[in-house]
Structure formats: structure tokens, C-alpha cells
């Protein structure tokens, strides 16, 4: 095997991060477009323009989400089992919100009835806005620790309620996430539209960019001043067979910022979040929409990277049975499985990026009202 077990564990932490970032950049921009849909497009043709900017791509983009889930199942089975069953109603809400997307995109324009179409427009809004909101709330709860423990046979047992997840800090993180995704959708939509839709989207872009800067800063200050982090108190044997019960964990003020002291280079991530957002806003206002999209994508790397580095080495700390908290060392699959999955990712990820780029290249250019009228039967 190319890498030893401790290295592979770290690589998989990075790879899960890459998949999350990929999801936020790719599926994020079409979710953002869905969120903006009812607000930046006034009549039916404008709405179809907006929908068709992502029409050929949303399905492929959604696979980032599905593959991310599959990769967590394969690489961090304990996280998959604990998070999905513990956050039961939150996960179902994400799932049910996602139901509106395939049918919303594909069925909406097949029937001319205005009520039918408006209903699906709001469906696309729900499918675009709810998942990032809930993922943000979930991250907000990770920082505070999640109430769960493992039984003797390693059955994860969640002891909290759904409503406790909706606490103020978590909701703030939900706003950060929604602002980030909607901002990403806005830079993309500006790149693919013109005229009134473009102008309204520009306004939305400025609003959500500003909101992202504001809430990201607020969450950072809150995390620094008001939230106790977690730290491993026992020595970590990174090469050991994963057993989440075999460690000691303490709750500590400021623990979530410790990595920035330890590895100052990681400060680049929050800096990237700010720089990317500001650059994207500036570029977009000056009409450099493609560069703006790249910049807002970098902002996503910064925001998600900041969250990941702050939590490291934790993935899902427990607030009630501290030692049960899951880390990158003890929630992972076997050495062999991590190795196989690494190869699968290394082989297929470049291929995926190649044909996805080709698909965008084929469909490049502004989506116009004239295009919608000419392709009345075929377009979404």
C-alpha cells in the first residue's frame, strides 16, 4: 500500500473536505440559483431563463452530494451511522427538500398552467434553500458537541431532541452557509444571464456577499469568546485500529482556535474566505463574472476549510459522553478500505472533472429569452 494507516487517515480527512467543497461549489451554485429564482425573475420567461442556466447541469452536480454521502459511509462509517441517525429529522428535512429538485426541474415547464409552474418554482426554492441551511445548522452543532454515546457494542445512541439543534449559534451557522451558497449561485447566475435578471441578481449578490462577511465574522467571534471546544487529553496512537471509546477528551475554552496557534499557515483559510468574498463582489460588479465565480468558489474553500481546521482532529464531538466523540483517527474504515477508496478517487475524480468541464463548455454562453422562445418544447 502506498501510504501507512496514519497518513491515510489524514488524507481521508482532506478528501472528505474536498468532496464537501466540491459539493458546495457545484451543487451549491445550482441550489443558490434555486433560492434566488422567485426573487430575481419576474415573469415566466425570466424564470425559465434562470432555471435553464442550471438545467443541463443540476443533475450531475447533485452527484457531488450523493458521492459525498457514499464516501463518508465508506471512509467514516461511524460518522455516517451516528450523524444520520442522530440528526434523524434534520436529515429527512434535507432529503424531502431535495425531492423538489429533480421533479421541479424536469416537470415544471412540461405543463403551461401558471399555478403548476409557480408551485414548482417554490419547490425549487425549497430544494435550494433548505439543504444549505440545515447543513450549516448541523455544523453549528458540531462545534458545540452533539449529545450521543456508544453502547458496548458500538451502537450509536443519540440522546438529544430535534429542537435543541435549533440553538442560536447553530442558526447563525445556518445563515453563514445559506449566504455562502446563495452568493455562489448569484455569481454563477450573473455569468449566465443578461438584462433585468442580471441586474437583480447583482443586487442579490451584494446582499448575500455582505451577509456572508458579516455572519462569518460574527460566528468567528462567538466561537472564540463564547463556545468551549474539545481536545483529546490522552496520547493519540494514529496508527491504532479505530476504537472511539479508547481515549480521553476534555472540554476547553478556546480549543477550537488552538490549531491556528499550532499551525499558523492555516490562518490562510479564514483569510481566503474574506479575500474570496470581497474579490468576487468587486469582480462581479465590474462585469468579470467568470472570475467572480472562481473567487466565490475560493471563498467556499476558505469557509469550509476554516470549519474543518477549527474542529480538527474532531469530526463529531460528543457533548454528553466526551470520549465517544468521533475524530479523524477513530471513526475511520480499515487500512485496506481507505486505500481502495483513495485509488478509486484518484482515478475517477480527474475523469469526472474532465467531462463535467466539457459539459459546461458545450452549454456555455448566456441563456436568453430568445433561446427559451425558440426551444419552448425542449427547454426546462
Amino acid at each position: 500500500m502506498l501510504f501507512d494507516y496514519p497518513t491515510l487517515k489524514l488524507i481521508w480527512w482532506l478528501l472528505v473536505g474536498v468532496l464537501l467543497v466540491g459539493f458546495a461549489i457545484m451543487d451549491g451554485h445550482d441550489m443558490g440559483v434555486g433560492t434566488l429564482l422567485p426573487f430575481v425573475a419576474k415573469d415566466d420567461v425570466e424564470r425559465r431563463v434562470v432555471i435553464n442556466t442550471v438545467g443541463p447541469h443540476w443533475d450531475g452536480n447533485q452527484v457531488w452530494f450523493i458521492t459525498g454521502g457514499g464516501a463518508i459511509f465508506a471512509a467514516w462509517p461511524l460518522v455516517y451511522a451516528t450523524a444520520f441517525s442522530g440528526f434523524y429529522w434534520a436529515m429527512l428535512a434535507v432529503l424531502w427538500a431535495l425531492f423538489f429538485r429533480p421533479v421541479g426541474f424536469d416537470y415544471r415547464s412540461k405543463i403551461a398552467n401558471p399555478t403548476w409552474r409557480k408551485t414548482w418554482d417554490w419547490g425549487l426554492f425549497v430544494g435550494g434553500a433548505v439543504p444549505p441551511l440545515i447543513f450549516g445548522v448541523a455544523f453549528g452543532n458540531l462545534f458545540q458537541g452533539v449529545p450521543f454515546y456508544f453502547a458496548d457494542n458500538l451502537m450509536p445512541i443519540y440522546t438529544g431532541s430535534f429542537w435543541a439543534l435549533l440553538n442560536p449559534f447553530a442558526l447563525l451557522c445556518g445563515v453563514v452557509s445559506t449566504a455562502m451558497i446563495t452568493f455562489q449561485g448569484a455569481t454563477y447566475l450573473m455569468h449566465r444571464t443578461e438584462g433585468d435578471v442580471y441586474r437583480r441578481t447583482q443586487t442579490a449578490m451584494l446582499i448575500f456577499g455582505g451577509l456572508l462577511l458579516l455572519t462569518f465574522s460574527a460566528a468567528g467571534v462567538w466561537l472564540w469568546q463564547g463556545i468551549d471546544g474539545y481536545a483529546i487529553a490522552s496520547t493519540v496512537d494514529a496508527g491504532a485500529l479505530p476504537n472511539p471509546l479508547d481515549k480521553e477528551v476534555v472540554r476547553q475554552a478556546g480549543a477550537w482556535l488552538a490549531n491556528y496557534d499550532k499551525y499558523p499557515a492555516t490562518m490562510a483559510l479564514p483569510a481566503l474566505a474574506y479575500a474570496g468574498t470581497l474579490a468576487a463582489m468587486l469582480l462581479a460588479v465590474n462585469g468579470a463574472t467568470l472570475a467572480a465565480f472562481v473567487a466565490s468558489s475560493l471563498a467556499i474553500v476558505g469557509v469550509i476549510g476554516t470549519a474543518g481546521v477549527s474542529l480538527f482532529p474532531f469530526v463529531m464531538p460528543s457533548s454528553t459522553d466526551l470520549r465517544s466523540g468521533l475524530t479523524v483517527y477513530d471513526s475511520v474504515s480499515s487500512h485496506l478500505t481507505l486505500n481502495i477508496m483513495l485509488w478509486a478517487t484518484l482515478i475517477f475524480m480527474p475523469i469526472i472533472i474532465a467531462y463535467t468541464s466539457w459539459a459546461y463548455k458545450v452549454m456555455a454562453g448566456k441563456v436568453t429569452a430568445a433561446y427559451i422562445r425558440e426551444n419552448d418544447h425542449a427547454a426546462y
Binding site: F84, S85, W96, S333, A344
Partner: protein, 518 residues
Amino acid sequence: MLSEQLVDLSRLQFAITALYHFLFVPLTLGMTWILVIMESTYVMTGKTIYKDMTRFWGKLFGINFALGVTTGITMEFQFGTNWAYYSHYVGDVFGAPLAIEGLMAFFLESTLIGLFFFGWDRLSRRQHLMVTIFMAIGTNLSALWILIANGWMQNPVGAEFSYVTMRMEMVDFWAVLFNPDAQAKFVHTVSAGYTTGAIFVLAISSFYLLRGRDVEFAKKSFRIAAAFGFASVCSVIVLGDEAGYSIGEAQQTKLAAMEAMWETEPAPAGFNLVAIPNEKEMKNDFAIEIPWVMGIIGTRSLDKQIPGIKEIRETNRQRILSGQIAVTALEALRKNPADSESRALLEQHAQDLGFGLLLKKYVVDVRTATPEMIEKAVSDTIPAVAPMFWTFRLMVAFGFLMLALFGTALWHSIKGNFADKPWLLRWALWMLPVPWLACELGWFVAEYGRQPWTIYGVLPTHLSVSNLSVASIYGSLAGFVGFYTVLLIVEMYLMVRFAKQGPGSLGTGRYDNEYAHA
């Protein structure tokens, strides 16, 4: 202990969502290749009608595909939400094919489906055909990886239990990949999908012909469906037989249950064409038997025996007793990892650990299991015979009915007179629901037949669930039933509407029933 109600509700939710998802999957699998055939003909002949066929049938394919995607995400979520212990216990093995499915297959089909619909004017003919072909390949690879995962549930090869991590761990990826069960299931399942796609096109084309509409379009579609369908249904039947032959204990138990074979008969065993199984007395009250056939199907030989239910029960009783020792040793070892005596015992009985876990349904400390509990656990190892026996026969009967239809359709298609045979067209139209029924019955035989296990011989179903409140599952079940009912109504409405309107819905001006829809 997890309540029986929790386990039953979790199973019910999984069954409902899986059966529902499987309403859309087979049609997707079949339609992609039919689209490839139609579009290849277009590229080769340059005749516009074949392009229109690709686009029209593609439209119906798209309506179906949307719900396939929608309901597929449910399946991926559900292992985590409702089967958390399962996810932990076998995620090391089972998660990998699911993740690779995303990377290798689902990305490909989902990215290209966008170009299939929107790329007609932006790609050359050949480029677009390549898109359609790779979309079909992606779809079928998707099925391959899902069935590798599912095949491992039936025949868990290439993995070992680790008492430190308290789970199954992969030791041989190639064994998981080339699991004979997975390969047999894959070819049988995709062929069933191809048959479904073929009946879909055949039935709707027959509808146009009966109405005398879009005759050229319908005739060309009918011919393609008849030829493709005949090949597919032959393959379903032949490869279904291959699935019956597959080795492995899960298959043996299923085979005995679906054949209502209580006794181990001298080889070659007979096949019960019909029977009335009596579960209580473990015999058939009535049976019509065809000698030799079962032995030949099941073993490909005249001298190998097939174990009957009573023999399997005795084998399993021994395994439960051995598993009892394994579970006891494992629990001691978890408390004291230095306990070398328990480690030796566990190693010695490890292959029966899953059978010991069956006792957990009745008692927390398996050492204290009473003879009655052991007897119950033994009975649990055989799925209920009557449902297996009848669903299997119904599925096979549907298979042969479709073979008859496609045989006749192909015959008259070669003779070129099918359009003048209203009885044939009407027969084809009425057969429309049959492949779906056969597919759902097939799912039932395969998955109900695996009970009481999620992973045969390794992890009992009753231990696999998430620790949720019964109220939560009632709530989510109600949500799924509500969403799925509405989605089905919407989907059926659109499907029927566009199927009825026919190729006129393309708005090309070349077909009957043209009217603006927007």
C-alpha cells in the same frame, strides 16, 4: 433490547421506499439502450424519424428518470438514518461499492443526461450519440455497483470480523467485486430492466397503432422493442436460472423455501410445480412434482443433493450453539482485551458469530438462552415458505408470459404484418404493467428470502436498525407515504399525458396530435 415494533417499522419503511424506487430503475436501465439503438440508427441512416423517436421516447425516459433520482437519494440516506448499526457494522465493506458507484457511474450518467436533453443543437450527431452511449454505460455500471453491494449482503465474501473495531472488515476487495452472487444478480436484474423498457415501448407503440396514429413512427418503435425485448426476456430467464444455481448458503435456504422442499431428496430432486405448503407440520399438503428438474437447475448435476429445509434447520441449530459460544467470548473480550482464552474461543467459533447474534432477539445475555429460545432462533433462520413459494412462481409465470408476447411480436415483426393484428397490439398494451410486477416480485424473493438477516449469516436484521423512537419512524413513514403518493400521481399524470399525445409533443410539425402546450 430493540423493540420488535421498531424493527418491523424500519423494515416496512425500507421495503416501501425500495419497492417504490424500483418502479423507476428498471425502465431507466432498459430505455437507455433502446435510445442508443434508435439514435445509432439515426446516425447511420440519417433519417429524421429516428431522431424524433430518440427525442420522444427520451422525453418519457426523462419523466421516469426524475423520480428515479428523487427516490434513489432516499435509499442512500436510509442506511444511515434507519440502519445505523448496520452502517457501522458493515460500512467498511458495504460503503465502498456505494461510493465507487457514485464516482464511476452515477456522475457519468447524471452529467451526460443533461447533454442528452440539451445538447442536440450544440453537438455533432456522432458526439451526441456518444453522449447517449456513455449515459447508458453509466446507468448500467450504476446497477453493477449497487448489485455488488447487494450481492455481498446475500453472500458476504472477502471480509472478516474484527473484535477491536467491532465490525466486519474488508480483507479481499476482488472477492467482493467478483462475488458470484453479485454477478448473477447483475445480469438478471439489468436484463429485467431491458425487458421492462421493451414492453414500455411495445405497449405504447401498439396503442398508437390501434388508434391508427403516427403509424410509421409506431411501427419502427414496435420493431425495435420486439427485437430488443425478445433478446432481453430470453436473457432474464436463462440468467435467472443462473441466479438459482449460485452457490452460497443464503441461496440454498432461499431455494429450499421457494421450492417448499422440506426433505433432502435423493439426487436429482424433483421440482414442485404447484404445492400447498404446511409450515406447521413442515410438509406439503399437496404437490405436483416434476422429477429431476430441481436437481438439475440447482446443482447442474444428476448426483449432487440439494439440502431440504429440515436439514438446513439442523445445520443452523449447530451453528447457533457454536455462535452462542462466539458471542459470549466476544463480550468477555470486549471487557478484557487481554483475555486470551476468550480470544481463542472467538477465533474458533468466529464463523458462527452471526448465528449466535440471532439469540439477541430473545435475550440480552445469550449464555442464558433457554432451549425454547434456541428453537425459536432456529425457526427464524428459514423465511416463511408460502410467500416465497408463490411470489417466485408468479414471477416466473410473468417471465414466460412476456417470452410468449415477445416471441409472437418478433415473429410478426419479421413477417411485417403486426400492424394488422389488433389482438397482438391489444395483448401488448395489456401487458404494460407485467414487467413491473415481475420486478417487484423479484425484489421480494431476493430480499424477503434473505431474512432474518441483513447480511446473511453475519448480521441479523433485528440488530441492524437505528436506536430511534417508534414515533419517529411512524412520522417518517407517514412523510414518505405522503410524498411518494403525490409524486406518483404527478408522474403518472405527465407520463400518461405525453404518452397519449405521442411524438406530436415534440412540436416538430411532422406528427399527429400537434398542439402547443405552452
